[in-house]
């Protein structure tokens, strides 16, 4: 039989339900693939073999008892290490939380498990999700499965790499300024940031509370749609007051026609100087592919988008500073021994526990929220947020989705982008979506002619119209598949079939 990495989530769940293979066999195949591929990828901070085999055995027992199986029965899933899962550590890739054991399970994780998914472990990330390359992890790098001299993107780099390398079928990430969509682009997988409020944040370590949103990675739009169905099926989460009631049915409507739907493009942005020629070519390909599917292209404008970096780096660090104030070394986290006062213990614990970028963001936030400074940056940034949100409202009156790059370039090499300001600038095309709160999805468009590395194109939709957004994403994927540009479901070639045979 084929390797488990040749199967999508739907095929695995259907195969388990039909008895073609058991959930335990799939779990063992995934563990085998992880063992074979992990030395070169290092996507995981912790592999939860015991939990995986136990969950898979429970799925098999349910089938044996004639019970109905969930949407994700036996599907191997990985979770970004800022999501609590009982029985694993939740480190946020930080020395601060190196030994922190999850005291409970996050709602997003719970829902994947309730749908029958098999938890394979926790994935690497930029420390506390501050970064775009996963290089700020306190523990180790993660390598891009398409070229191991390159970064996987970030901050959810481990989740993207684990899916791209075929170590798992699905993974969850979190996206505060592009942390799902950018690594999806770099690793050649589909990654979705749903509208803020669609997925519960309960049990996810907070970075920017008005910006953070959890979403899935998969190797096809259909797999991402299936994961979305699992995430929203149980309705709003009473444990997260921002969680909203969202109907399931992402997969059910995926193949519906997009004939007559409209995609907006911004001509100025398509020619943006930061874009490499191959990223521009990918956007052209995507436009043609959508046109082939019957989507009409219209021109739109988001005039305040240029200021979204400034607004984001005022709002994000301020929220991060507030959220990370809880790490005082008392109730959890690293504690500096031998201190005589609480103030000294707090300052030294935080100095040891946080890495350079985590310190920078908190220092910036501390400054921005200070009396006298608040009115200069934080408050006007929230006013600019109103302008950006209005831009989107006007644009979406004319189209069903807006097409943008996910990142200005393909994955860069380790150490190539070391200046924080340069790193921040690379978020230009993703962050306005977090500021306004609407949904965005990154779809692979193929490999760049110059670098040979994956390029993703981003589609953004109106708030709470994520079903329609995914339908458009599927149309893009279908169009590119029909023209031979991509093969959905593919694993990075150097790792496909390495271990993971379904016995």
């Amino acid at each position: 039989m084929a390797g488990f990495d040749q199967l999508g989530a739907r095929a695995i769940a259907a195969g388990v339900a039909a008895g073609d293979f058991s959930a335990s066999e799939v779990a063992r195949a995934a563990l085998d693939a992880i063992e074979a591929r992990e030395p070169k990828i290092q996507a995981f901070l912790q592999v939860s073999a015991g939990l995986a085999l136990k969950a898979a055995a429970a799925t098999d027992a349910r089938r044996a008892a004639g019970e109905e199986l969930g949407l994700l029965a036996g599907v191997p899933v990985a979770f970004k290490d800022n999501m609590h899962l009982l029985g694993t550590r939740t480190t946020c890739a930080s020395l601060m939380l190196e030994h922190y054991e999850s005291p409970f399970t996050a709602t997003c994780v719970r829902r994947m498990l309730d749908a029958g998914a098999t938890p394979m472990g926790k994935t690497n990330m930029d420390e506390f999700a501050f970064g775009s390359s996963t290089e700020s992890s306190a523990f180790h790098r993660t390598y891009n499965p398409w070229d191991i001299t390159c970064v996987p993107g970030g901050s959810s780099g481990g989740s993207a790499a684990a899916v791209a390398a075929g170590e798992v079928t699905l993974a969850l990430g979190s996206d505060t300024g592009g942390s799902i969509r950018q690594p999806a682009s770099f690793c050649g997988v589909v990654g979705m940031k749903p509208t803020y409020g669609v997925v519960s944040r309960y049990g996810v370590v907070a970075f920017g509370s008005s910006l953070d949103q959890v979403g899935p990675f998969g190797r096809s739009v259909a797999d991402v749609a299936l994961a979305m169905d699992a995430l929203v099926a149980a309705g709003r989460d009473p444990f997260d007051s921002t969680s909203q009631e969202v109907p399931a049915g992402f997969l059910a409507h995926l193949e519906a026609s997009v004939e007559g739907m409209r995609v907006g493009i911004m001509p100025d942005l398509m020619g943006h100087e930061a874009l490499t020629p191959e990223v521009r070519a990918a956007l052209d390909d995507a436009r043609v592919a959508l046109g082939d599917q019957g989507v009409e292209v219209v021109e739109v404008d988001l005039p305040h988008m240029a200021s979204s970096i400034a607004a984001y780096y005022a709002i994000g660090p301020s929220e991060a500073f507030s959220n990370l104030a809880r790490f005082d070394g008392v109730r959890f986290g690293y504690q500096q021994p031998g201190c005589t006062t609480l103030a000294e213990q707090t300052a030294l614990s935080r100095a040891y526990g946080f890495g350079a970028e985590a310190k920078r963001r908190q220092m910036l936030g501390a400054y921005l929220l200070a009396a006298g400074v608040y009115d200069k940056y934080y408050y006007p940034a929230q006013q600019v947020r109103t302008l950006i949100t209005s831009d989107y409202r006007r644009a979406f009156a004319r189209c069903d989705a807006i097409m943008l790059p996910a990142a200005p370039t393909t994955a860069w090499c380790f150490g190539e982008v070391s200046d924080p300001m340069q790193m921040y600038a690379s978020d230009l095309f993703t962050i306005s979506c977090n500021i306004a709160g609407n949904g965005g999805v990154c779809v692979p468009v193929g490999l760049g002619a110059d670098t040979g590395m994956p390029i993703g194109v981003q589609l953004q939709g109106p708030a709470f119209q994520d079903h329609k957004l995914l339908r458009m994403a599927r149309a893009l994927e279908r169009g590119l598949e029909e023209s031979g540009r991509i093969k959905p479901g593919s694993v990075a070639p150097a790792f496909a079939g390495k271990g993971g045979e379904l016995a």
Partner: protein, 105 residues
């Protein structure tokens, strides 16, 4: 007029992050660059523009009833204390917050 090293030291104290002398230098450079990055938001005329603090507008704080939480979300004592570095009995253990030596402010 950028932030001085002395001002950055004050921010670090407020943020409760002990920085080395070398880190203070780097942080001063960083903060001044970051503030430069934020300048575009000061270039708009924002008179009369209401702020958007949150993408979901009509939220208000949610307060729990002031009673013992006995549902399955309540952590067992051992779990609640399990991640702390210093505990004593049923409590988290902390250094002195009062008296000589500066304490907590």
């Amino acid at each position: 007029m950028g932030l001085t090293r002395k001002e950055v030291r004050g921010i670090a104290e407020y943020a409760r992050i002990a920085l080395t002398e070398a880190e203070l230098d780097e942080m001063t450079t960083y903060l001044n660059e970051a503030i430069e990055l934020l300048q575009p938001i000061r270039e708009y005329n924002l008179t009369g523009v209401a702020p958007t603090f949150h993408p979901i507008g009509d939220l208000s704080n949610v307060m729990a009833a002031d009673e013992l939480d006995a549902n399955d979300r309540a952590l067992e004592l051992g779990v609640a204390l399990g991640n702390a570095a210093s505990t004593q009995g049923r409590a988290f253990r902390v250094p002195s917050i009062l008296g000589d030596g500066g304490g907590d402010r």
